[in-house]
Symmetry: C2
Subunit: 158 residues, 2 copies
């Protein structure tokens, strides 16, 4: 695995962009349910979900928050960032199997507190916007190259 490298405050320029892609699997939705304790059948019981206005299972809305958080922490600005705040608007449902691409763009730098504002938009594989948001981040002041942690393997038993 290569290192997680950041872009320190002084190197950040308004207009810089980054992307982060993740396919949301059925297993991801189960993991989110386990992590959150959100056992709502709209996310996991297809038969039930078909009877709702969504017409089938959807991912938890905050799955998009998980993706944005990872994009900020690992890519832009990356390690050493302190996540101070986030605004989110959920625009369209995310379905199991959807491939989501988060687009990040630096829109403001505040010298005081080294704070940066990063616009976020998440689109699905059909180009539909499913999420809009703004991250408030205390950018790192030093260059950091962090060694990514090797994640454990996960297995689910029904």
């Amino acid at each position: 695995m290569s290192g997680l490298e950041n872009t320190p405050f002084d190197e950040l320029v308004v207009g810089m962009t980054a992307t982060y892609t993740k396919t949301v699997s059925e297993e991801d939705i189960k993991l989110f349910a386990i992590l959150s304790g959100d056992t709502n059948p709209i996310h996991l019981d297809e038969e039930y979900a078909k009877t709702t206005p969504f017409g089938g299972c959807i991912a938890h809305g905050a799955m998009c928050a998980v993706i944005i958080s990872a994009a900020v922490a690992t890519k832009f600005p990356g390690p050493g960032s302190i996540y101070a705040g986030q605004e989110m608007r959920f625009k369209k449902p995310v379905r199991p199997g959807d491939t989501l691409t988060a687009h990040l763009e630096l829109v403001e730098k505040k010298r005081r507190g080294n704070i940066v504002l990063i616009n976020n938009e998440i689109k699905n594989q059909n180009g539909e916007t499913v999420f809009l948001g703004v991250s408030t981040v205390v950018a790192p002041t030093e260059k950091v190259v962090a060694k990514p942690v090797e994640l454990p393997r996960v297995e689910l038993f029904d």
Copy 2:
């Protein structure tokens, strides 16, 4: 398991409150890392984390988003709610083992679109505020009692 019962729009009253509690384990932090792809060592490598200003491992900030999302979806207003938006401010780090209690309070009802605004505050076991936010939710118009999904058992293999 008892049913997940909602409070429909007409029964919601400004000032109503609800709480949701979760202890954030080391396993939860690993699950978040797997789910998000955020392999930043600040969350999982104690030795590395000690060298940072946090002085030890911390949970991913968006763990609080996961908790608020579950509180809205399962308790208040509960099933049938459509999560439209969320503002979040991360006030203090969350550490493995912390017990977090989310306090939700209905602060506004908009007849148009059945939208409700719900203030959120998450406190840790020491009474410290770690998170402040506001959820925007399209409240359900009908009574729903949903059968919670039985979650699979999860195992992690290092």
